[in-house]
């Protein structure tokens, strides 16, 4: 599949394509997101001492000090490692498999929890399959990862309540969440130019389809709705990522988790060098088809602006090099084919 964006329509500083009217390039072929970023005063760095202060407010007062959302990827595995080893906490590792997680990712988490000696909840479910199928079959522009993220976050809040963990730890990196603006609010700013259209389509799908399907009747329509719901819980968990507070980049912590907990890269994932689930191939395919970019383009653009990766590396990692055979293999689990994506 060749969904590569033409180089001349990509911002010369980051990897965002020109998608008018929300994202546009100026005469120097720099996107409005980069221009806005350059004009903003630099953010004060988040300090590890502040992170520790938050951790210590809750340390030892609950059954678990925190719940770590584990995907088997490098960032969440490092987050689990830091919680146990660097901050000496009693974390509960939590992983779900909606039927599309890879064996490699699951094994990464299993090895890590065994090595670190932490309790582990593995939640396997078919709950989301019908929704994924609906998105594909209905030709919705909803980004498959979005309702899945909302569901996963909802599940994490439930698990934190059930297992009495006051803090939810995510493996979000500096590119994956607005650091200071959305502290403890988990996730991205859906009103930002780069996310607004995608979020609108996801919201529209959820509005139209969840009412029709009994099992999804209570499914939160947006991340904001989910957060409002979580605030009403008796047990209020906050969400944080250690990566916002630490100066170490993947270069440093991948080495640590490889050595300490036997973490390994997966063979095939999108973007390269990630550990995303197999449904993510379908999600990314649809995102490119409908919007011209994926949320990984947004995240990597932020990482470029933060000085974490180079633009050329991001362009390389974002190349879509997966085949119809792979897509068909994933789609067969929800009784769909590549033709359903292309019709």
């Amino acid at each position: 599949m060749d969904s590569a964006i033409q180089e001349q329509s990509i911002c010369q500083k980051c990897v965002m394509p020109e998608v008018k009217p929300r994202i546009w390039l100026n005469e120097e072929r720099i996107c409005n997101l980069c221009v806005d970023h350059a004009n903003k005063p630099p953010l004060q760095p988040l300090l590890e001492s502040d992170f520790i202060k938050t951790l210590d407010k809750h340390r030892g007062k609950h059954r678990y000090d925190c719940l770590v959302m584990c995907s088997g990827g490098k960032d969440s595995t490092a987050a689990l490692y830091f919680m146990k080893k660097r901050y000496n906490l009693n974390p509960l590792a939590f992983m779900f498999d909606h039927g599309f997680e890879t064996e490699e990712a699951i094994n990464n988490v299993k090895r890590a929890v065994a090595k670190l000696g932490v309790d582990f909840v593995f939640y396997k479910t078919e709950h989301m399959k019908e929704m994924f199928k609906n998105i594909v079959k209905s030709k919705s522009k909803a980004i498959i990862c979005h309702p899945c993220s909302i569901w996963y976050m909802d599940l994490a809040f439930d698990m934190a309540e059930k297992h009495d963990a006051p803090i939810i730890i995510a493996g979000w990196t500096k590119g994956q969440s607005e650091k200071q603006e959305v502290m403890s609010k988990c996730g991205c700013n859906v009103h930002a130019a780069e996310y607004a259209d995608m979020a609108k389509e996801t919201n529209r799908f959820l509005e139209e389809h969840t009412e029709k399907t009994g099992k999804y009747r209570d499914f939160p329509r947006t991340m904001e709705e989910l957060l409002a719901k979580s605030k009403k819980k008796k047990h209020k968990a906050i969400v944080l990522s250690p990566h916002w507070f630490l100066p170490y980049g993947p270069e440093e912590y991948v080495k640590i988790i490889k050595e300490e907990v036997g973490w390994e890269y997966t063979k095939n994932s999108y973007p390269s060098k990630t550990t995303n689930c197999n449904m993510n191939f379908v999600s990314a395919y649809n995102a490119m088809k409908f919007f011209g970019y994926t949320h990984y383009h947004v995240e990597m653009s932020k990482l470029i602006r933060e000085g974490v990766i180079t633009r050329e590396q991001a362009l390389e990692d974002l190349k879509m090099q997966f085949s119809d055979e792979l897509l068909n293999d994933v789609l067969s689990k929800i009784d769909c084919t590549v033709d359903d994506l292309r019709k």
């Binding site: 760095p45 590890e48 001492s49 630490l246 270069e251 470029i304």
Partner: protein, 559 residues
């Protein structure tokens, strides 16, 4: 054993981390928050120190603070009561600072660091003394500390032997040489903390013809002790520390933007002469009392390179040691080492080899920025290739920003965050002052010279690794290096040994091979802001000024 040392709430806030008696990290807060001489709680420096060592506050065994806040508060209150009602406004202005920050230091530290073990408070001048002695190579030494004011003391002398430091005598506030220097600095239209060095430079353009007037202001005795004539000052009584009588004695003060007249230069020269005379007398007295061949100096006054040089040359001491952060920043280290050696009685000592105690950045971090900014750069494959190329640029008259290894601790750039140039150039000083440093044209630049060749060029044959001495050129070189020569024919010098800074030593050596001049002009890598800390700051400075090349680790960046 890990000890975190902290200094803050006045100026030059800093933090350091000591591991088993060795300083493993230290930095000033200004380098991170970009506020020059920043006084705030040095939380970014602390985070840096801990992360550099890969530890968190849970791993700390002790935390030290560089002065006794309650004692200082007592002095402040007494001073305000004595001056009431004239001190009332100042009292209202300063009390919130005390109540918000200074008096709650223990709570501050416990809260910010979630640290629940004991916090140790070491007297201000004892912290100064320890910062010098415990980093020196000496097993016993006389110690002299002089600054503005600590709790009560403004100057002390003492004696250190093995692990113990004994302060023998002290001079108390308001009698303070450091304060006098700062008051005259403000009177001459310069800013306190940043202006003292300018006054020192300006002094060389004047003649000390106001000595009679200064004798009215300060009564100096043969042992170096002194009393300030309080009739001429208004401590805590208003925005200015000098009064009408002071103006009657020395004339109208100079507004900040007014031209500098000969009178101002002469007053600066007189102040400098008095300062030198006082510290010389103090040092001679310390020698008479201790008979030690070794002297350790600390306190902000010993950033005065001219005074230091006279002590080195004109007293009986054979060896003099000053650590690079002689002011309050260095006291963070002093308080921590005082706890480690004198209180906890650990004997193992480590001599300071260089001041590179700050952050460093790896090649991939730097290359990401260079690539994303689309800069024209080359990566050298060996250190030799880098130093040869940069030496050639310098010999060709180019200005090079030199960003290498760990950032220096203290006010001087010593070959890790430096701007370098050819000292022979007759136009370089003005070019740098005007287009890159944006500072007064009378201010001279320092030089870095290979230690083994220093006596060939200067009337000087000592170690000066932290650029804290000046020296006259040898007769045959007078006038040969205009870019680094002050009006009085001296230059502020840093001697460089290979073991202190390998790459910098190699660079100067390569320059010497091309020019037969084993020295470079060396000034700090900044304009009017604090010295740069990160690669991004260095690149931004490089792009906005007329620096020709940036040598950042193995990369050479050009415009």
């Amino acid at each position: 054993m890990y000890i975190l040392g902290i200094s803050c709430f006045y100026h030059d806030a800093s933090a350091c981390l000591i591991k088993d008696g060795v300083v493993v990290a230290a930095a000033q807060e200004e380098r991170f928050n970009r506020d020059k001489y920043s006084p705030v709680f040095p939380i970014q420096s602390i985070n840096y120190c801990l992360q550099h060592e890969g530890i968190t506050s849970y791993d700390l065994d002790h935390v030290t603070f560089y002065e006794k806040m309650y004692l200082k508060f007592e002095r402040t209150i007494v001073s305000h009561i004595e001056g009431f009602p004239f001190t009332y406004k100042n009292f209202l202005d300063t009390m919130p600072l005390w109540l918000k920050d200074r008096l709650v230091v223990p709570l501050y530290i416990k809260d910010e660091l979630t640290f629940n073990k004991k916090i140790w408070f070491v007297k201000h001048h004892l912290s100064h003394a320890a910062s010098s002695y415990f980093l020196s190579p000496f097993n016993q030494a006389a110690i002299l500390t002089v600054d503005g004011v600590g709790e009560y003391a403004s100057a002390t002398y003492g004696f250190a032997h093995e692990n113990k430091i004994e302060i023998k005598k002290e001079i108390s506030y308001p009698h303070s040489l450091g304060l006098l220097y700062s008051i005259v600095t403000a009177y001459l239209g310069f800013r306190v903390f940043s202006g003292e060095g300018k006054v020192m430079a300006l002094a060389e353009f004047g003649t000390p013809c106001y000595i009679k007037e200064f004798n009215e202001l300060i009564d100096v005795r043969e042992d170096g002790s002194f009393r300030i004539n309080l009739d001429y000052f208004s401590f805590n009584r208003g925005e200015k520390m000098h009064n009408k009588k002071f103006i009657k004695l020395l004339g109208e003060e100079r507004p900040e933007d007014a031209p500098i007249a000969q009178r101002h230069k002469d007053i600066a020269a007189s102040l400098q002469k008095v300062t030198e005379d006082v510290v010389l007398k103090m040092a001679r007295h310390a020698y008479r009392e201790t008979k030690s061949p070794n002297l350790c100096l600390a306190g902000g006054v010993f950033l005065n390179v001219t005074a230091n040089s006279r002590i080195l040359n004109e007293t009986p001491f054979k060896n003099v040691f000053i650590q690079p952060a002689a002011g309050d920043a260095g006291s963070a280290i002093g308080s921590a080492l005082y706890l480690y050696h004198s209180i906890l009685n650990n004997e193992k000592r480590t001599t300071m080899i260089n001041s590179a105690l700050g952050p460093h950045y790896n090649l991939s971090q730097i290359e990401i920025i260079l690539k994303n900014k689309r800069l024209k750069y080359t990566k050298t494959s060996t250190s030799e290739e880098l130093t040869k190329k940069v030496a050639q640029f310098l010999a060709d008259g180019k200005v090079v920003a030199w960003f290498q290894g760990r950032m220096e601790f203290g006010p001087r750039a010593l070959g890790n965050r430096s701007i370098l140039a050819d000292p022979r150039s007759p136009t370089m000083k003005d070019w740098l002052n005007l287009t890159i440093k944006h500072r007064e044209d009378f201010r001279p630049f320092g030089a870095s010279i290979l230690r083994e060749r220093v006596s060939e060029f200067f009337e000087f044959d000592h170690d000066s690794p932290y650029m804290l001495y000046v020296a006259h050129f040898q007769k045959k070189y007078q006038g040969a290096f205009p870019a680094i020569t002050h009006i009085n024919g001296t230059s502020r010098i840093q001697t460089v040994r290979r073991e202190e800074n390998h790459r910098y030593y190699e660079l100067i050596s390569e320059f010497s091979k091309l020019t037969d001049v084993p020295m470079l002009l060396n000034t700090s890598l900044n304009d009017t802001e604090p010295i740069v800390c990160t690669p991004l700051s260095a690149i931004d400075l490089f792009l906005k000024t007329k620096i020709d090349y940036l040598a950042i680790e193995d990369f050479i960046v050009e415009k």
